[in-house]
Symmetry: D2
Subunit: 134 residues, 4 copies
């Protein structure tokens, strides 16, 4: 999604945050939200759905939290570092839980493998942005 970086470049004013890390984190959040939504639905279509209840649940939570983190970060994030930090912490926690859960099914279900990768990438992007906030 090259649009994210273009929109940051077009912002009227200083965002008070590392723009490269910010764009990477927004894109990782949206990517992970999509993967988690699709993974929950793919799990629902598996024959062994009764063994995937926790996976569906953590997928849905992670999808919601990543989507909202991507939205909050798409606003003028410099204004309230406490809020940005709290949202990033929640997103990192959700991605770690969901990545761990999906990784357990990665060998059996390709959608869980792809989703686990998206969760790891988003967890790292949140961690990097948190570090840059100091």
């Amino acid at each position: 999604m090259a649009t994210t970086q273009q929109m940051l470049d077009a912002y009227p004013g200083d965002l008070g945050i590392d723009q490269t890390l910010l764009a990477a984190c927004i894109d990782a959040c949206l990517d992970c939200a999509q993967a988690c939504t699709a993974c929950a639905d793919a799990c629902l279509s598996e024959e062994m759905v009764d063994q995937l209840r926790s996976c569906i649940r953590t997928d849905l939570d992670c999808a919601d939290i990543c989507a909202v983190t991507g939205r909050v970060l798409s606003r003028h994030t410099g204004y309230d570092a406490n809020l940005t930090r709290a949202v990033l912490e929640a997103c990192r926690t959700a991605c770690r839980s969901c990545g761990d859960e999906c990784a357990q099914h990665a060998e059996m279900h390709d959608h869980c493998r792809i989703c686990a990768d998206a969760c790891r990438a988003c967890e790292q992007a949140c961690a990097d942005l948190l570090t840059s906030l100091g």
Copy 2:
């Protein structure tokens, strides 16, 4: 919204959390999300919109975070206390920021006064639920 409590009563299994505090927190989140969405839009309609930029921004962030907190809490929250806690912390932080901002305009704008009240109530409901999680 009496439905929230009814749905908790109909849950097949133990939620592992104080149900009265949980229902109160879900309802406070949804109430606050609505108030913040409406307050942002009301601010946009004010003549002095240029003095309400921060208020609109924090309203939008708070609306997003409260809505997603209400969703996460509406799922089987017992399964991952770390995630529940991180989301509640983010929501409490967002409500405090938004409540503080709206309170500054409460005398001039009724929508800010009502929204500040909704933020305070949601901040408290999150704090109460966090305490009960130990």
Copy 3:
């Protein structure tokens, strides 16, 4: 949620829409979104989860669409009747699908019965608001 009506009363300007029907529809949307989110999760906890796949899916779709309809309606809806109408049509369609699906499981699962009622109420509230828009 008495807050919805309070926020409408505090709006600076004419909303160009029947406020009583609008408040009822916003509240019905938020109520239905919560019920559907909770019903999807309750279905996931049922032993017979493999027979509830469609119900979970339609619950999740209906939750998403009701939530966003509640948000769009919480803004200055008069400005673009085409958009308001299209969103209400989508919401009415989602509520009908989900209400029909949940009604099939209402005798066996209390959460489906309560959710079906919330869907019917929201479908009706959308229909009433659509009629008033002319």
Copy 4:
């Protein structure tokens, strides 16, 4: 977002829909939702914010509707063509409104120009998917 296509390829079962158009539409929805969220915030930072009220409003509505359309399409969309169609119609309507509004400010504000492009692309992707649904 190559992940979207990967997740579709990993889906266990037939989606009953053109997968290339579906992936393109999901990605266009998420891209447009991000652009609209960022454009609303950029508009809020402009000196002439009082002339951008409608643009902010339509940005926020379009962001919400595109995000939810991307989510609904990320689920097993074949199951209920009526719902898919109604959501795509709402999304197309929102993108047309927002694209028209942003296009009016495109020469003055780069963020409106980029956002208008994202809206046009999403409107087209929704139209293409609707046509394929018959």
